[in-house]
Symmetry: D2
Subunit: 256 residues, 4 copies
């Protein structure tokens, strides 16, 4: 054996993924729960399964405004296969787009661990973390949104987390930070949908390194719809997006 | 307005996707059904919803053997963010990998339309199509598999399609073609999982141009698991895959 | 040996590419001529070498207007590594963007072969091809441009091809088609830069399947400059491009 | 104006890149020098121009062994357009593949600045830097290679830098570090090609953030050759690379 993988056993006429035969999963387990199985090595409880569906659904689409949808539509307009255009959108998922789930989850997971280690309450830890970040003049990721002051996805996700008894220290810490930001800054900087997902997957005990994974698994559905719409309803190389861009480079001159 | 889209209405604190508020979809509709909504403009019936889960689950993973998983793991090993590596796998979904869903669905949809137009039975149409393809020495996509002689996913998907009363002319045509291939070739060339999905989404009345979309939406879950495993458990730039490659280019010589 | 490649022999402390030691190529052969070597299996003549430089330079950049530059800048703005953003631009190089080089070269190469086979002059072949395309109501790729009525790159490339004695049947056919389009359509549809490159690489005896390759090798230089400028001078997730997009999807409603 | 760019002015029949009309650049300035212009805002001196050619040529190809070539060939084998497959290879250029140019250049540029600030010689600074890295148990990037103990590209690049009077403090520091590593580790860890390029572009006064850019601009030529060869000479979905991969995931079981 060159190396080993924990994902799928492939033998002739026999496929086993994370312990279950694929023909057993197909038709018996919903897709989102199979995604959970792939990322967590076990099938979800009823509550975790429902939350998983909610998280992926909260990521599906935000119209043509985010970099991912813009990139996918522009690339589709060059006349390429659907997966190539969808992949271009996935490429834009980075530290500034969807990245607050990964970095936010790490921040919350570190914070909760530190509170335990230092024997501090979640409230006190929130104060410490906000103060430290302000001293370093760094942003806490997962707060504030370009469009929404009260994001309907965030409210719904947190209320579900309560209903399903998922809310624990990470969600608490994330809300205490929101309060503390308001107290220290004198203005509201509400948890955004990335921040909410960061807190919830942390209380579901997911590795923060999967943060961008949740986002992309949900978002490829929307990106596929965008690329399909672009291919079906629009002409290639049309003017999709526009910008008036001036030139302020070196002045025009002759070759030396 | 520069142009219009049918996917998501984005207003401050208000997100409507294909007619439904996102906060209504989140927690009430399972993710796979939301995917159906995105691709079909309406929520699925109970039967279509179940079939949708089954189709996406049938696409999740096939170990490290297909180009998509190989590309994702290799790119991950270069030391890049998770979405970059997942996207590399998506790029490999082309005419030869997952493409049989798209082309197979087009072939079946054209075949069923032609049978109706020419007043022929599905059985007769299968004979005609197989003969025509053999004359042109072209393969019919969606039959035969590198690893499986009796793919467990195919059997399960078709039996579900029967249970859920989804089986109609496209699935019938696809099975008649399988019989006819055996009769004309004298050997079994069983419908593979791509071929099965091509037939089923056609009987669910999906546009064949979405064929690769189903495959990629399901497969990104597996690719995410592969990239996560590669990042977590293995060293960068390790020897993941190997080949003994000789050089048979121009013979070695001095510059002119 | 699993298989053989004609590109590079890799042995410890010994690298031979298309017959030449890399340490001989480095510092002795200019980069564009090494590119020629990679694509043509031999070093260029003085004339071909100069033309190669001209072709790659003609592809370097067209500001932020084409899909490739737009995609690269948008993806860069998501906060990803430079190569990820450059690659996103490369993905947009498709049948509608840069694709006229590939398809145009095939069209010209087929046309010249057919003229020889049918014993026709290049002038007559141009008339036949334009008429056939008009009957089928298909566009001939490589004529007309969104921005330029007299593209400075095209004129310069053709005049160089004359100076360097590269002009042969393919360039002739391409110019005859331009005349014939004007005669039959009653308006000017000038050869664009893609069309010019298609004709020139055909007269240089390159395989048409490399058409998009020339374009991308030149354009990655411009895309790298765009991504670097975006990373250095601009904030992440800024509004780079804009569109007023309305929603005309299913009307807003409650869940069933 | 929404914003400004320093790269290309686009007006009807008029294209100016970094101050020069494109029709002046085409046919008069070699491609590699135009690349220099794009990245440095001015045309190179004769010496810098020659070094630029050498650097890009040193990056062209390393056979099918690196992640970029493997990814491109695998993705090509899925049956996708040439640019999609080339882009997949570009995606693998990350911190572990080509990344030593970027990080190595930053390390050397920081080191030279620090030597000046602290009034230390390059020799002393090399000792300090190696000791500090060893204390932190961190690798210095750009030393050692998987295949070559005496990389022919490195030797050639450094000897050219001497001939062309480019060698200054950064190259000196890089060689002093090599000596110091040998002294402190008791074994040779030679500067590899990435490390050499990192030092040379630093002495040419390039921004370290362009490190991966040099590598990718050179390497896309080789990747294009690989994808072309794969498309031309091989069957789709062939077994290009292989690995014996075992399954050590959750044991096989029935659904709960």
């Amino acid at each position: 054996m060159d190396w080993k993988s924990k994902i799928t056993k492939v033998e002739p006429n026999h496929l086993v993924t994370k312990g279950y035969k694929q023909e057993d999963l197909i038709g018996n387990i919903s897709f989102s729960h199979v995604v959970y199985l792939l990322l967590k090595d076990k099938l979800p409880s009823k509550e975790h399964g429902k939350m998983m569906d909610a998280i992926l659904t909260a990521c599906i689409d935000h119209g043509v405004t985010p970099p991912s949808a813009m990139a996918s539509r522009i690339v589709a307009s060059g006349g390429v296969p659907l997966p190539t255009a969808v992949a271009a959108g996935v490429l834009s998922i980075g530290d500034a787009h969807g990245g607050a789930i990964e970095k936010g989850a790490k921040f919350l997971q570190d914070g909760v661990l530190r509170a335990k280690k230092e024997g501090k309450s979640i409230e006190d830890m929130a104060k410490i973390l906000v103060s430290e970040k302000r001293e370093k003049k760094e942003r806490i990721l997962g707060y504030g949104h370009r469009v929404h002051s009260s994001d309907p996805r965030t409210k719904r996700l947190f209320s579900l987390a309560n209903e399903l008894n998922i809310t624990k220290d990470h969600i608490k810490l994330s809300k205490e930070i929101e309060k503390e930001l308001e107290a220290q800054l004198g203005k509201t900087l509400p948890i955004n949908v990335d921040g909410a997902i960061a807190a919830i997957i942390s209380d579901m005990d997911f590795d923060w390194r999967l943060g961008k994974g949740f986002f992309l698994i949900g978002r490829v559905a929307g990106l596929t719809a965008h690329v399909y719409e672009e291919e079906k309803d629009f002409k290639k190389m049309r003017k999709i997006f526009s910008a008036e861009v001036g030139y302020d480079g070196p002045y025009e001159k002759e070759l030396p």
